[in-house]
């Protein structure tokens, strides 16, 4: 067995020793540029966090405004479509609003937050940013249950109330934050569960809630939590007839204070570091992690709207029919 150990104590990943050829995906075009702006520093520690962020976790550090500006300029020259800011918790960065303004001047921009730090003052500034830009400014807030008990069991005591307050504040200012929830229910329960989230948010004062469902990822604390982990790795056969443009590695890169990584999900994997900066980053990556299978299953789940583009969404469109009911 070859053992790959995560940078902050992930359980080792066992890669089968038999000669397995991992599919290689080239960067087709840089559609999505990510900044891991506060590294892995977060004010809470969720039990399913895929990159083990938390208080005092400094596996990755903060990005400076200058480094954001430099890499943004490179990406714009390459025709970047959208920019996202993540962490850790991005609102821990004292210059986040300036970074967002800089980005929104040239590109649609998203910030991924736990929502706990969005007070009235910050909400005012975010509403100003949205008004000033011609591009969409998306604020994605994570939530894991539509009751305080469900959510706070995963995200920590008091988080539910803070998130409800944040969505209300933003909604009152004309913003429609995208509330992301990790799927912990069956497919049959999907519509009723979503309705539950919508109702809860409306009751909290968010009048037109937007909710996006994410699959849970076999990474970080979630992998530890699941213990067994999934054994599947992507094979070239699995990519036959599959539109590889659905995979983030074909269209995204992540800038961190320690270099450029292939996708936001793999920042803990040393092999997924592609170089010092965007200009020098390797153009291709061999998919050798369980998380790659998640991306293959669900499409680019990290986008605001999951990109399932042209052709075979696994299983769905492959089925042909002659007579519909």
């Amino acid at each position: 067995m070859i053992r790959l150990t995560g940078m902050s104590g992930n359980p080792p990943l066992d890669i089968p020793e038999k000669p397995m050829k991992h599919p290689v995906i080239e960067l087709k075009h840089l559609d999505n540029l990510w900044f891991q702006v506060t590294g892995t520093l977060c004010n809470i520690a969720c039990s399913h966090c895929f990159n083990n962020s938390g208080p005092n976790v400094r596996t990755f550090g903060f990005l400076s405004l200058d480094s954001v500006r430099q890499e943004l300029e490179v990406a714009l020259r390459q025709g970047v479509k959208e920019v996202s800011f993540t962490g850790g918790e991005p609102f821990l960065h004292p210059e986040l609003v300036r970074m967002l303004r800089l980005s929104l001047a040239s590109a649609p921009t998203t910030v991924l937050t736990n929502g706990t730090l969005i007070n009235d003052r910050i909400a005012d500034r975010l509403a100003d940013l949205e008004r000033e830009s011609n591009y969409s400014f998306e604020i994605r807030i994570s939530l894991d249950g539509y009751t305080e008990a469900m959510n706070d069991a995963i995200r920590g005591a008091g988080v539910f109330r803070k998130v409800m307050d944040a969505t209300r504040r933003l909604s009152q200012r004309g913003l429609l934050p995208l509330v992301t929830v990790v799927r912990t229910w069956s497919e049959e329960e999907e519509l009723s569960t979503l309705a539950g989230f919508v109702r809860t948010l409306q009751e909290a004062g968010y009048s037109r809630p937007r909710v996006k469902v994410l699959p849970s990822l076999p990474l970080g604390r979630e992998l530890k939590r699941r213990q067994s982990g999934e054994e599947t790795l992507l094979t070239e056969e699995m990519l036959h007839g599959f539109d590889a443009d659905l995979l983030m590695c074909s269209n995204s890169r992540v800038v961190t204070d320690r270099g450029v990584w292939v996708c936001p999900l793999l920042v803990e994997m040393p092999d997924a570091r592609l170089g010092e900066n965007l200009t020098g980053a390797a153009p291709a990556y061999a998919l050798r992690h369980h998380a790659c299978v998640t991306c293959w299953h669900y499409g680019s789940i990290c986008g605001n709207v999951n990109a399932q583009i042209e052709g075979p969404a696994p299983a769905a469109s492959a089925a042909r029919l002659r007579s519909l009911p």
Partner: protein, 260 residues
């Protein structure tokens, strides 16, 4: 050719199509194009085909047309939210059942893209984007930088798309243009009942892009939809101009402008 009319998705709205054809002729368009998604959403999908053939509208294949022609199980609209997909399925199943085999086969013969010259400017017509039949190009999520990249790789001065249902035009340096022509199929989530198409003209001062509002008998369309037992949510959109379904795919700005 210096003056053309470009229609977006028709979504089986035969009344709006007839009104748009008449309007474009009155404005002396030299050629009429449709960027695909001929069926969907509305009633009696077969009614639009004679209109298109009679008027000589040059049509492209959209994702819907590609699915119908290929007998696929879904419309390939690119929705991923279960609520969006619920209504997309209802619409696709109705359209699939009610489109003749002859028309389905014809859809399969349509090109995916079309190139033409507009007063010497290179124009590319496509459905979603030059690189994907069902890529959503919204005004608020398409950076200048990205649109320039698409124009460069398409080797075009002007690109026209549809697919999202909401029109916009971005003018870029060197008289280059990216145009989402909107759709004839349903109103664009602004509380007005009219639909839109685009007129492109090559003029001495440069390319001119004009969006033309099209009024039609939307009440008659709504009545047809009710008789066909299409979802009341679809009918409400036709009657009010506000989108009621497939909303989760909208970005912040476009969603905030709507009612729901």
């Amino acid at each position: 050719m210096t003056h053309i009319a470009v229609f977006g998705g028709i979504y089986s709205n035969d009344r709006a199509l007839a009104a748009a054809i008449e309007d474009a002729r009155r404005r002396r368009a030299e050629a009429l194009f449709c960027l695909g998604d001929l069926g969907a959403f509305g009633p009696h999908p077969d009614r639009i085909y004679p209109l298109l053939r009679e008027a000589g509208v040059q049509c492209l294949q959209g994702n819907y047309d590609n699915s119908l022609a290929g007998g696929l199980a879904d419309c390939q609209c690119g929705y991923t939210d279960p609520r969006d997909n619920y209504f997309a399925r209802l619409s696709y199943q109705y359209t699939f059942r009610n489109t003749s085999e002859e028309n389905k086969a014809w859809l399969g013969t349509l090109p995916m893209t079309l190139r033409l010259s507009l007063g010497g400017r290179r124009v590319l017509l496509c459905h979603g984007s030059p690189r994907k039949i069902n890529e959503f190009l919204w005004e608020s999520t398409s950076s200048d930088s990205f649109l320039t990249y698409l124009l460069d790789t398409a080797q075009a001065d002007i690109v026209c798309v549809t697919h999202t249902g909401i029109k916009w035009h971005r003018s870029l340096p060197a008289d280059r243009h990216f145009v989402n022509v909107g759709v004839l199929g349903r109103p664009e989530n602004d509380g007005c009942t009219n639909v839109w198409y685009a007129l492109l003209s090559a003029e001495p001062a440069g390319v001119r892009v004009e969006f033309v509002p099209v009024a039609y008998d939307f009440r008659a369309l709504a009545a047809d939809m009710e008789r066909e037992h299409l979802p009341s949510e679809f009918v409400a959109t036709i009657l009010t101009g506000w989108w009621t379904t497939c909303l989760e795919v909208l970005p912040q700005k476009e969603r905030a402008r709507g009612k729901f």
